[in-house]
Amino acid sequence: MGHKNGWMQNDWGFDLSMNDDRKWLKEEIDFLLAEQRELLGRGPSFKIVHRFRMPGSDCLPGEEIFAVFLVHRRHDYHLRLPLALRILFDYLARHPRVPQSAGQIELGIRAEDFYRRHAANGTGRRAVTRNISRSYVRVYAKRLHKALELAFQEARLQIDPSSVLLDAKTVGNELGYQLKANCDWVHIDLTKRDSQPLWGGNCGKQHYRSNSGTSRSTE
């Protein structure tokens, strides 16, 4: 047997490297490493479900952030988030590039119509929302870590939640929060009769038929 570059090799050692005998093993190892690289590079995958979307629209104010799921190997694992945390998660997922301070997060959520009119399509008028106060962002971040930890445990993913919801210090004393994850949005359309364009949907206007058989609408 000879030594070359620190490897033990004999004559049939070279043959092994050319042999397909363990090619199946190499393929499995390659698959696991590719999965690991993806998780490390892009972060885990999440699916954010919005419901009460107006048919024909894309993603508009009035929808509800219904649920958030961790997606791993074709399974969905539900994140147990109350409304405030669903709003926070959705907001951070929409702004993944730059870490934001608690103050910026508070301002951003207040300023966006989507969160001000959250779930209004479902109630017909009234928004069902939460104010995210900047003094509570740190508390919410801890709770979000906990929800992520539970979902990762369920999915048997050994990922540190603080590597997904990052909190990075600025050169001052501020903490910047950032979501390092791959997020997709899924929508469930409203099915109320008056939201369907084909049924003459007109967002709640009532039609009355007069005795002559003609119809007129009132608001």
Partner: protein, 126 residues
């Protein structure tokens, strides 16, 4: 060059191996372990072999590995090992190795389902 120690540890020491994928192999069958180690090395991996779960857990606490291969011939044994490994690696803050279980006997689809639920891959040797 490599060194073999009493508990069948084969460590590849190679100045060019900084980027090589490191594999920790748990296999209580010495002949099978030796054959598998040679195959893995021929495929280009750096291999550390252990014959019992205690030394594997010790190895995981002290070093970083990319892949952990659990080779087991007894039914259900790999599940016990994987559960213990998960408990150990969960406490550590590093990103743990991906686990691959090697089985030699097919015992039905339930075994693979159990592996999926534990977050590991189970494959059968060919």
């Amino acid at each position: 060059m490599f060194s073999a120690e009493p508990h069948r540890e084969l460590i590849l020491i190679d100045s060019e191996s900084n980027n090589r994928i490191s594999v920790l192999l748990l296999d209580s069958d010495p002949n099978h372990a030796e054959e598998l180690t040679r195959s893995l090395q021929a495929l280009g991996y750096g291999v550390t072999t252990r014959s019992d779960i205690i030394s594997v857990l010790h190895g995981l606490s002290n070093s970083d590995f990319d892949i952990l291969i659990v080779s087991s011939n007894r039914p259900g044994e790999w599940k016990t090992y994987v559960t213990r490994i998960h408990k150990t690696t969960r406490r550590a803050k590093r990103f743990p190795p991906r686990i691959l279980c090697l089985a030699r006997v097919y015992r039905g689809p339930q075994e693979r389902l159990d592996a999926e639920r534990l977050g590991v891959r189970l494959i059968y040797e060919r």
